[in-house]
């Protein structure tokens, strides 16, 4: 009897719950691979799209996005035992929940991967500072989301961002990631330690760089309107 080997796995539709439960329990290598592939095909495009936007402001953007994307899925499958849907969560929300989990991992991978490109010699110390990604399944609301943003302003910000050095872009986005852009708030100790290790500098210098970058953005976005 002739057996036809399939080079591409058949696309079988599993629910997110089935995939997660299966990945946690499955010992059969072939079934496990099937579940991993399903998960990958379901989420790779969305994660890649986010990473392309995130990485486009940094050098070697395409390779960076690819590398982080791969690392994200590798880490996700390694850490799937620690992941679970919140009790009582509805199936229609599972995609959203998994996306948030993957974003936490992708963010962690970005910090490490980018740090390696900037400062390979301190990479081991930096990895120790960042640690492994920690995921909170509960919704955390961002502050002040009632502020309406219009498209022209978004373009202005991108133009302003293009004026910054790569170091300034990295530092500003780290602050934005922790909702610390405004001058009344401070970066967490962990993130400050990370930036200091990457750039081999002091917290005071990091704050100065952030302030300068923010001033440049404000000048470009808002003062230009006054002319």
């Amino acid at each position: 009897m002739q057996v036809t080997l399939q080079t591409r796995p058949m696309k079988i539709c599993f629910t997110d719950q089935q995939i997660i439960d299966g990945l946690k329990d499955e010992n059969d290598e072939d079934k496990r691979r099937l579940l991993q592939n399903s998960f990958f095909y379901n989420y790779v495009k969305d994660i890649y799209k986010m990473l392309v936007q995130k990485c486009k402001n940094f050098s070697d953007a395409e390779q960076l996005a690819k590398d982080i994307n791969q690392e994200t899925f590798i880490k996700a499958f390694k850490g799937v035992q620690k992941f679970s849907f919140p009790v009582g969560s509805e199936a229609k929300n599972h995609r959203k929940i998994i996306m948030k989990w993957l974003v936490v991992i992708a963010n962690n991978c970005f910090k490490k991967e980018y740090a390696k490109r900037i400062n390979e010699s301190s990479y081991d110390d930096i990895v120790e500072i960042i640690g492994e990604p920690t995921y909170e399944p509960f919704e955390t609301e961002s502050q002040d989301l009632q502020i309406e943003i219009v498209n022209p302003f978004r373009l202005k910000l991108q133009n302003a961002f293009n004026l910054l050095s790569e170091r300034e872009k990295h530092i500003i986005t780290e602050y934005a990631d922790e909702e610390c852009i405004d001058t009344t708030k401070h970066l967490s100790d962990k993130s400050m330690k990370y930036l200091c290790a990457v750039y081999e500098t002091t917290p005071e210098n990091i704050r100065q760089i952030k302030k300068r970058a923010l001033d440049k953005i404000k000048k470009s976005c808002f003062n230009a309107d006054k002319k």
Binding site: F77, V103, V104, I149
Partner: protein
């Protein structure tokens, strides 16, 4: 009164900047609202996956050691061989790199103290 108005204006500007950074793709969106906003802006943008991401083969192959585009490839074997052969036979590039690494390691040791 004037100073407060100016402070509020600065604060509003900063909040606006932060919001765009968090929803405009500069930072990976983390909350439901940020994801919704990101989807609204970029949802219709179709993404063409690069070849390496078309299939999840990387999950099953042995990890390749990636070289950073910025940093030149100087394998540790080169240093070991250079050390065995003697310092005067080292190329300038290797000597420079060894010196840099030595300085960075010293600086790190001093910081830890």
């Amino acid at each position: 009164m004037k100073k407060n108005k100016s402070d509020n204006s600065q604060l509003n500007q900063e909040k606006m900047i932060e919001k765009i950074l968090r929803t405009g793709g500069f930072v990976l969106p983390s909350s439901d609202d940020e994801m919704k906003e990101f989807e609204r802006i970029y949802g219709t943008t179709d993404v063409i996956l690069p070849e390496e991401l078309q299939e999840p083969n990387f999950l099953y192959s042995s990890p390749k050691k990636k070289q950073s585009a910025k940093i030149k490839e100087l394998r540790s074997n080169d240093f070991a061989m250079a050390a065995r052969q003697g310092a005067e036979n080292l190329p300038d590039e290797v000597k420079k790199r060894m010196e840099q690494d030595r300085r960075k390691a010293d600086a790190r040791r001093k910081r830890k103290k």
